[in-house]
Amino acid sequence: MSAANRSQFIYVTYIRTTPEKLWAALTDAEFMKQYWFGMHCESQWTAGAPWQLVSGDGEIFDAGEIIEADPPRRLVIRWQHQNRPELKAEGNSLCTMELEPAGAAVKLSITHSIEREPSKLIEAVSGGWPKILSNLKSLLETGSIALLDAYRQSTTQP
């Protein structure tokens, strides 16, 4: 990592849909459960609003606040893990979602970063995002998801 004391990843996928539909898919709790393996976010999705990532049985895995919400373009979430003490101790991370039209598709970029290196949180969430994005793409493009059991072996959400 060239910038000292930061862990970061960027995941990008192209989805054949509109920015409006993708924004709705990223913020609608019921829709989210379909591609996020039963998890969903609870928030009003406006700057300053609280944000939570909740499991199927109601457990709060992550919590924070909406830092920026510019539908259907950009969403920034302050994100702190709640469930595992060693991850919670790492403090706040920042998750940025950017939606850009790209021809007949929308480019969705998800950047997740934390101001420490190495970071167990970033390591833990980095396994989940590709599966979630792949499911989201598949759901929006074909109406069905590819994976049902993302968390069988992964360590934590997303």
């Binding site: 910038a3 970061q8 990843f9 790209a102 950047t111 599966k131």
Partner: protein
């Protein structure tokens, strides 16, 4: 817009796979950092990175004046789902059948379906 052909073409070269491995070991590197310890010219690395970017396997992010390269594993996940997962399931079932058959020894068993 990345498509599957670009993706497989990008993965077909050992030098490009090495670059992906280096990003996997250490994400967010500059061109200069990626060139260290590689038996490739800077120009060669630049060309490989452009192809990887075209296939959406590498994503560039500017931090101030630094151009950082990140591994984007999302297309690999899609390959896994499209090309690996569906093939591995019958194999795993065959292995599990074999294990049962061997462990059950000479217990009388109805003939099992041939593993696919």
């Amino acid at each position: 817009m990345a498509d599957r052909d670009l993706l497989f073409k990008a993965l077909a070269d050992p030098g490009r796979r090495k670059l992906l491995d280096r990003l996997h070991a250490h994400d967010g590197q500059t061109l200069g950092e990626l060139c260290q310890h590689l038996a490739m010219t800077r120009q060669g690395v630049t060309q490989h990175l452009a192809l990887l970017e075209g296939a959406n396997l590498v994503v560039v992010h500017w931090r101030g004046r630094e151009k950082l390269h990140f591994l984007n594993p999302v297309p690999l996940q899609e390959i896994y789902e499209r090309w690996i997962r569906k093939f591995e399931k019958p194999r795993l079932r065959a292995l599990s059948d074999l294990k049962h058959r061997l462990e059950e020894g000479d217990d009388p068993q109805p003939p099992r379906r041939r593993p696919s």
